[in-house]
Amino acid sequence: MACKKDRVPFNGTPEQEAQLKEVIARLKDTKGALMPIMQQAQEIYGYLPLEVQTMISDETGIPLEKIYGVATFYSQFSLQPKGQYQISVCLGTACYVKGSGGILSKLEEVLGISNGECTPDGRFSLDSCRCVGACGLAPVMMINDEVYGRLTPDDIPGILAKYK
């Protein structure tokens, strides 16, 4: 098994819960309802944390592990919320040959999270992507809508400091 990670605290609202329960009530008796329920749950909450998957399990009677198995099998489902600042590192061909792998590693090191995760304070989330159309600036990363190009790993701490 993978080893345990710190989780971002869950901040679901009663409105979101009511919305999810409505979705489940509508879908649960149809065959193959799990995936559509999970997709809509992700739309409501932005991700599928333990609390949301437990709600789905309690309401449908589907074992929690089965839901988690589906959530971790398909990359469209996320177990991590997006941070206030969403970092995307381009791992497309041009960026990759220009060393974006090292940029990603440095970000992981500085933020203390892995690709696909969010910092426990909810500030930064880290993802990789494929080509943002700025190959001339390779290697490139984006923080929300801001593009940073011609990066070296040493630039990372300074850039992140601007968002503290």
Partner: protein, 582 residues
């Protein structure tokens, strides 16, 4: 059913329409190796060990799931087939922790056996990166070591399909896939009921019980401790399999002899407290019927079932008999009645049980299972652990003489020994309850309607002018089906027996592991159950209330069934849990 004819390895074979190639081959006595396949439980064609060549097919096919059709030509042992199986095995081995010398399954590991049979010459041929894994030892009763897991999914299938629980499954995908619980929780944090059926079907050493052999041997070596042992009925029906006896051999005498040679101060029998359970439970049943108590009364001998009820049917815990299980009753009596008789302090007695069960390891540390201020039972070992202990101390099991149990807690009746199989507790309880209610001796003691390996059995008996409806379920998926009928009002019963494992304790999670190819062809449950029914038939005393040791216990110590003292020592309480919580 209509038969069709196919050719396997050039020979004509006739098999029922709808059979798989594997089944047809078996009819012709042609062995095809299998690994992930468990009949009716795990039929997913995932491991590719059973591949065969089919004329006209583009690639090799998995014979365990491939149906036969008229005129089909199959080859099971061409060089292409053999090479494919060997390569598959080598790939499995490349991601497998090959510590065979120290592995608990060495000698009865299905992967090891296949590697030997299929001629894997270089087990490290494809070595490279391995899927990262940790050991999960969060549960009281077992350990998961995914470095030895081959992702066959037998454990997942038995947990979800047979037991209806589903706390384990495949997480992530591709090379990162591992079997575990939701959100990487340890098994101990989930609603796992500790039944151990996953261990029983695991082909490798990935799953095993948490062993306490060394703690028990240390207690035996401690001169200040008086170490006693009890053995559950089902253990004698299966222990022999570990020493080469055919399935269905009764080794009660050799087992008692082995325990004595290991060094236990007294070798007792859980059959004694099974009889005691019947006295208390039959009394409780009659009391509930006569005084408007909660019905149906449901048996409480199986701790896997108890935990399942607490998680999945918390609104039915009032239906559970308040009787402790025979294991716990034994411990409570051993540290009170027996302690007084033998002039021992309860804290100087180490009470050990040998059980076909892994949930018993969980049960011994429940609250309200320590009637004398100390745990009723200190260590609970599985049948497999007993076999390991026998080997470890150098006892030649097959050469032992047959010996008996010690008095006074070693005497049990035929009613007690059948506790180990589905329907046994019901039958034993009926023998006592009917005679108590009618005041007359039963003409026939066999209640055959509640015998057999069907998952759910029902019967109705006229007892002293009252229609008594009973039901028996084994395996938790069956238990759920039965209880849902009770809850919806579709079925009504007075008395229900439920055992956590399919077939009852004889097929418990702590019993010797039989490989898939045996499980798929033989009903090991029926063979083991026959041992217990034969033992019942041969016992001169077949009713719990006629056990002289039990009579003496009530006359000199407890008073009567349901007395205050009996309640304090022999009864317990339950909690309500949730499905997604431990």
């Amino acid at each position: 059913m209509e038969n069709i004819t196919i050719k396997i390895n050039g020979m004509e074979v006739s098999a029922p329409k709808g059979s798989t190639i594997l089944e047809a081959a078996r009819l012709a006595h042609i062995e095809i190796p299998t690994l992930c396949f468990l009949k009716d439980i795990n039929e997913i064609g995932a491991c590719r060990m059973c591949v065969v060549e089919v004329k006209g097919a583009r690639s090799l096919v998995a014979s365990c799931v491939y149906p036969i059709n008229d005129g089909m030509e199959v080859w099971t042992n061409t060089p292409k087939v053999l090479e494919s199986r060997r390569k598959t095995l080598q790939l499995l081995l490349s991601n497998h922790e090959r510590k065979c010398l120290s592995c608990v399954r060495s000698g009865n590991c299905e992967l090891q056996q296949l590697a030997k049979e299929l001629g894997v010459e270089d087990e490290a041929y494809y070595d490279g990166e391995r899927t990262p894994s940790c050991i999960d030892d969060s549960a009281v009763h077992m350990i998961r070591d995914n470095s030895k897991c081959i992702l066959c999914r037998r454990c997942v299938a038995v947990c979800e399909k047979v037991q209806g629980i589903g706390v384990i499954g495949a997480n992530e995908r591709g090379f990162a896939t591992f079997i575990g619980s939701a959100f990487d929780m340890g098994l101990g944090e989930t609603s796992c009921v500790s039944c151990g059926q996953c261990i029983a079907v695991c082909p490798t050493g990935a799953l095993q019980e948490k062993s306490q052999i060394d703690e028990v041997l240390a207690a035996i070596a401690d001169p200040s401790k008086h170490v006693i042992v009890q053995t559950a009925p089902a253990v004698r029906a299966a222990l022999g399999e570990e020493f080469g006896y055919p399935i269905g051999t009764n080794v009660e005498g050799k087992m008692a002899a082995a325990l004595r040679r290991i060094g236990f101060d007294k070798v007792f029998d859980t059959n004694f407290s099974a009889d005691l359970t019947i006295m208390e439970e039959a009394h409780e049943f009659i009391d509930r019927v006569q005084n408007g108590g909660v019905l149906p009364l449901i048996t409480s001998c199986s701790p896997g079932w108890i935990k399942y009820c607490e998680h999945y049917f918390p609104d039915m815990t009032e239906n559970l008999s308040s009787c402790k299980s025979p294991q716990q009753m034994f411990g409570a009596i051993a540290k009170s009645y027996y302690a007084e008789k033998a002039g021992l302090k309860p804290e100087d007695i180490v009470s050990v049980s040998i059980m076909p069960c892994t949930a018993k390891k969980f049960e011994i540390q429940w609250p309200d299972e320590a009637a004398n201020g100390v745990p009723d039972v200190d260590y609970s070992l599985t049948t497999r652990e007993l076999a390991r202990m026998i080997r470890k101390v150098g006892i030649k099991f097959t050469q032992l003489p047959d010996e008996g149990f010690d008095a006074p807690l070693g005497l049990g009746t035929g009613a007690a020994v059948i506790f180990g199989t589905t329907g046994g507790v019901m039958e034993a309880a009926l023998r006592t309850a009917v005679e108590t209610l009618t005041g007359e001796e039963l003409a026939a003691l066999d209640f055959t309607d509640v015998r057999g390996m069907k998952g759910i059995k029902e019967a109705s008996y006229n007892v002293a002018g009252m229609e008594v409806k009973v039901a028996v379920a084994s395996g938790l998926g069956n238990a759920r089906e039965l209880l849902n009928k009770v809850k919806s009002g579709e079925a009504q019963y007075h008395f229900i027996e439920i055992m956590g494992c399919p077939g009852g304790c004889i097929n418990g999670g702590g019993q010797p592991q039989q490989p898939g190819y045996v499980r798929n062809t033989v009903d090991i449950r029926a063979l083991r159950a026959k041992v217990l029914y034969d033992s019942d038939k041969d016992n001169p005393i077949r009713k719990s209330h006629e056990n002289p040791a039990i009579k003496e216990l009530y006359e000199t110590y407890l008073g009567h069934p349901g007395s205050e003292k009996a309640h304090h020592l022999l009864h317990t309480t339950y909690v309500k849990r949730s499905i997604n919580g431990n």
